[in-house]
Amino acid sequence: METVQEEATTLAQPKKTTTVSGAVALLEGLIAEGTEVIFGYPGGAIMPIYDAIYDYKEKLNHILVRHEQCAAHAAQGFARSSGKVGVVFATSGPGATNLVTGIADAQIDSTPLVCITAQVFATLLGTDAFQETDIINISAPVTKWSYQVTDASEIPAALAKAFYIARSGRPGPVLIDITKNAQIQLFEYEGYTPCNHIRSYRPKPIVRNEYIEQAAALINSAKKPFILFGQGVILGAAEQEFKAFVEKSGIPAAWTILGAGAIPTDHPLNVGMLGMHGNYGPNVQTNSCDVMIAVGMRFDDRVTGRLDKYAKQAKVVHLDIDPAEIDKNVKADVPVWGDCKETLPLLTNLITERKHDSWLAEFKAFEKIEEEELIRKELEPQTGELTMGEVINQLNLLTKGEAIIVSDVGQHQMIACRYGKLNTSRLSVTSGGLGTMGFGLPAAIGAKLGAPNRTVVAVIGDGGFQMTLQELGTIMQFGVDVKILILNNQFLGMVRQWQDLFNEKRYSFVDITSPDFVKLADSYSIAGRKVTEREKIVEGLQEMLNHPGSFLLEVMVGKEDNVFPMVPQGSSVSEIRFK
């Protein structure tokens, strides 16, 4: 420890500076922010940064992906499994534009990313230079913030702002575009100062007690209260606070696809999934509850179905950190602005401890109907083609709810989310808002790096897998232990399902052929196996899970199975159908 006197002399001295390049300042800043992993791909404009990182291999683990889109998805997977900020590098032009899908996905799913793109020399801006693209404006609608750096001295402050913005409040992706001259330029570096205040940005609204009181009064007088929870609980690291609230209030709680796991799937008050392919009870009861308490969720149209027939009878209490979400889709009677980590305990304090046995029994009754009519056939079929559900069910029995399940987009995603067993938070990683096919494989790579001690199972369809299968190369090169579970129905299943239900089975371009996935894996030195019989499912899963290192398991499932229940688009949640 320094003495006071020593401190005083230190303060009196001018700041020590070192002469470094913009590229080195960037890497120093990333280290100061606690960055461990970077997902990236080099190119012309970003070469000075890659030259600098050559000397930082010990401190920064750079994962070379096979396509920039996958760098963004991998960083998302990393952020979602670890709770930290994902970091992405891409070069100018096509490198930057390839990121856009991943950035858009992160924006709509509130995933904190710091994307560093390179740009042509500042003197060439606007000249249609080689690999020049206006990424700041291209990405503006899908980033929380972006900034173009043209002078090396801006880098530390810009990076500090970027991390602060990405992770605070409602998280999201930010982009910093650094011109090549700024990467090369030498400047007097004064060290890195993190940012924790921007005067034009208030990450969380101030909590207003009158709304907490009003919310508590509504909850205390409710006869049929119903909790809907979303990813806000997870992003706010408020799982404990939420559990305390649910348990004291005794209110049945249902989750959005991104809220999955905020309380364990088998918690007695967890009544299931909301929305288009959610559970029967939560959808139907939406239109019979008297008080609806929405926590950290945004009433996406896939959750609400037809809005003018959505919970019209209910008083709505909406807890959200983003003021723009309140009253956006569903009007709140009591808006509880704020971080739910702060608002939930305040609310828990004011509510009376209750049990809603008969109301909960109604949910159980719906559950029983769904179980008998649908779930049993899906999870434990005795004859006929293999179902996606039975594969997930067997997976649950083996992983016991402790594995991270990364899903892609489509039918298998709905099945994986409906039936995946999750004991804790941050075990489900999926593309919810944007619905990006091809998300699964790269996100699983990131998820594994973000949670190295967890088993990571990427559940992917035959269509989505073919969108980003080049990432098998990344898995091979970096030895990432990802278990790939392809549920192959030889169709683009979800679109086929809609064509079946709504377009008189006019199967238009949904019949997709695939390569031999096991052979493909083999050419990447990834072990694999194909399962076509019911008796081999458990064995196949066991082999996959027990295999040291990555493994690809392909399971051939029913070609024309549909995912039910379903709230057809444009229908009310209470019009949920079983076939």
Binding site: A140, P141, H197, I198, D327
Partner: protein, 206 residues
């Protein structure tokens, strides 16, 4: 007013003037503009200029929409990192003006028009008189600036330009105190002020 009337009013489209205070950052104009274009809402007039506070710009945006849409737009704009504050007001809540310039041939005007009467009646003034043309200026509401076009059209109006609407909010207490609040607010116990943030002019320049 009855609830029904209130609802009707909230659902009726009318002119709203949106006032936005932002940091003077490159790119914020686009970030604000795309909030409208994304929803296919037309911006009828837009004025951006430095406010009374250094480094802070004031936007005046005129659109015709319902109050419900305005409420949502305002929140989306305020969500932008570099936006400090958004207000939206109906025409009753504001004092507004547009400025217009009219270029007409000097000889025609001098010969045929009672210039003095014309200026008086339209509250206009002469900005420039040259041998070949004269430039008049007037400020007012749209209808007033429009009227002078009609008057001058027969005399060979060569060129006309009108500014965007600028508006003062009748019951605003100004932005200075609000800004001090923003600067004071929030930062938790362990405030490490980013040394560059207060000197953004020195660092964030291009």
């Amino acid at each position: 007013m009855s609830d029904a009337q209130n609802i009707e009013l909230a659902n009726a489209k009318q002119e709203y003037t949106i006032t936005v205070y932002t940091e003077n950052q490159i790119g914020i104009l686009n970030r604000i503009a795309i909030i409208f274009s994304r929803r296919k809402i037309n911006i009828e007039s837009l004025n951006v200029s430095p406010s009374e506070i250094e480094h802070i710009h004031r936007f005046n945006i005129l659109i015709t929409e319902t109050e419900e849409v305005l409420r949502k737009l305002a929140k989306q704009i305020e969500k932008q990192i570099d936006v400090l504050k958004v207000y939206y007001n109906t025409n009753d809540d504001i004092i507004w003006q547009e400025l217009a310039l009219y270029k007409v041939p000097t000889d025609v005007v001098a010969e045929k028009v009672f210039v003095e009467r014309l200026l008086r009646e339209n509250g206009a003034r002469v900005v420039v008189i040259r041998k070949d043309y004269t430039v008049f200026e007037t400020t007012g509401h749209r209808s007033e600036t429009d009227k002078l076009i009609e008057v001058l059209q027969p005399y060979g109006l060569i060129e006309f330009v009108r500014s965007a609407r600028v508006a003062i909010i009748k019951d605003s207490e100004g932005f200075n105190s609000k800004l001090r609040e923003f600067e004071r607010l929030e930062p938790g116990q362990e405030v490490i002020e980013n040394e560059f943030l207060d000197k953004e002019k020195d660092v964030f320049t291009m």
